[in-house]
């Protein structure tokens, strides 16, 4: 493709993009590279070693934090996806829904506010109600900000799908529940899955709210890592980070794969 003949082409764009991607991936590469460093000082290379992985995997506090994060994320994801699915069905499929726009804004409210404000809101709420259970606080807080992330993909999927199938099902005397279970749900499953996945990742990743609600016994993974970082950078942190990166990449690839499959089944 000669530069002269393609007027949409601009000089230097290619190299610029290459540099950009290098910059985007450099930090991740650096973290992974130094996780194999044998030295106690992160960036003073003294030899290859896997000892920091062994250390990380045998760290009891770390494993507790992972467990807390996973449980909070799992419960919050189920709650948020259920709530979002019901809301999306009403807001997209419902006829003559009053105040549709307002309702939609309310469901998406957590996206419109800075998270630090949300975290202050739930902190003050729990202090007023007198809820002391750290785990329950985390689950409620996470459910709130995960709901719009679950809602948006489900809504998109519902909007992109004709209601013909549902109408046909109703014509064949299926009641609403049967129609939902046998027709709607299988059709929007990729959207529901994408929403749940997004909610799960957002919950696992959350620092601001979890840190604000942090109380004994229920420290999530990001809050635990934050505590370690404050004590100084160590190769063990790099090892932990590398494991997190690995899991994130697997989850992302899986999500993309399922989304791509959903897209192809949709076009048939």
């Amino acid at each position: 493709m000669a530069f002269k003949h393609n007027v949409r082409q601009y000089r230097g764009l290619g190299p610029f993009t290459v540099v950009f991607f290098a910059w985007l991936y450099l930090p991740i590469a650096v973290v992974i590279f130094y996780s194999f460093n044998e030295n106690r000082l992160v960036s003073v290379w003294s030899g290859f070693s896997l000892k920091w992985y062994a250390e990380a995997l045998s760290n009891r506090n770390l494993m507790n934090a992972v467990q807390t994060s996973l449980s909070v994320a799992a419960i919050a994801t189920i709650c948020a996806t259920g709530i979002a699915l019901m809301a999306a069905l009403v807001l997209v499929r419902g006829r003559n829904v009053k105040y549709r726009r307002v309702s939609e804004t309310i469901v998406n409210l957590p996206l419109l506010l800075p998270e630090i404000v949300l975290s202050v809101a739930v902190l003050i709420l729990f202090s007023q109600v007198g809820l002391a259970n750290g785990f329950l606080k985390l689950v409620i807080g996470h459910t709130t900000f995960c709901t719009p992330f679950a809602f948006l993909p489900i809504r998109a999927r519902l909007q992109g799908m004709d209601s013909d199938f549902e109408d046909a099902s109703a014509d064949l005397y299926a009641n609403r529940w049967t129609t939902f279970r046998r027709v709607t749900l299988p059709l929007i499953a990729p959207g529901v899955f994408a929403g749940a996945m997004l909610a799960f990742v957002i919950s696992m990743d959350d620092f601001i709210t979890s840190n604000m609600l942090n109380s004994g016994g229920s420290t999530t993974l990001p809050v635990y890592i934050f505590g370690l970082i404050r004590q100084g950078t160590t190769p063990e942190l790099n090892a932990i980070s590398t494991l997190i990166i690995l899991v994130s990449l697997i989850v992302a690839a899986l999500a993309l794969f399922i989304q791509a499959r959903g897209a192809t089944t949709n076009t048939h």
Partner: protein
Amino acid sequence: MKDFRFWGLLPAHLLMMCTLIVPILIIIAVSVSTRGAYGGFEFEFSTDAYRQILFNEGWSGEMEFNPQYLFIIARTAVLAGLATLICMVLAFPVAYWITLQSAQMRTLLLFMVTLPFWVSMIVRVYAWLIILGNDGVIESALRATGLVEDMDTLLFNNGAMLVGMVYSYIPLMILPVYASIEKLDRALIEASHDLYGSRMTTLRRVILPLCWPGLGAGAILVFVPCLGTVLEPILLGGGKIMMMGNLIQMQFGGARNWPFGAAIAITLMCLVMGVLIVNGLRAMRQAQLKAESI
């Protein structure tokens, strides 16, 4: 089952009402309350918290103007604005180049843009900590080449926070900008060329104006989270250079001044709401202009 319209929305509304709308009203109430003797607050009307943003109480009780918190607010707005601007400048050429590639390549490149976004935020900020830090990657590299013997830390300044913010939020800019360039009618670019517009003129007069909606959408997506960012100022700014996010967090943590924290949180919320409202009005006016021109 008849009124699924009501029962279906109930959980979502109940959740947002209980955990968000009512608590925000409580925050407003707390921001005009008195600070409790042992932290927390007491419901007793006072505007001390808001006054504290502007004034400092001297030892004999006189109020003197103290702009330190105004500086923090201004720094937050300026840094968020700069981060947004840098994201725009970086994202546009990259997004443009991606649109020129084959369909398969485009999918792959967009996936690569979003991939770091899936990696935990704290890990991404930590990465910059070891790159910029004392004995960090950059410093070691410069020392190894013998260019410098001793250098000041690259961390704990506005630049470090800016790098962290741009790095954290740039995918949110690339995606809408890409979408707007993708939608662009190629015939318009060719028409401009046929009318002897140079590439630069075409960029300035045709491509950029048509991509403003995408850039605007990206700007909102980047600017709003940057205003409330917490991790970058704490870790890359060292907690000494404050932004509104970590100022609020401090008031509910160590400093234990809830009314003041609530007042700053309300200020931040108003800032964000202001941005969103201005943006909404602009979008409405544009839609109106479009409707009129047809």
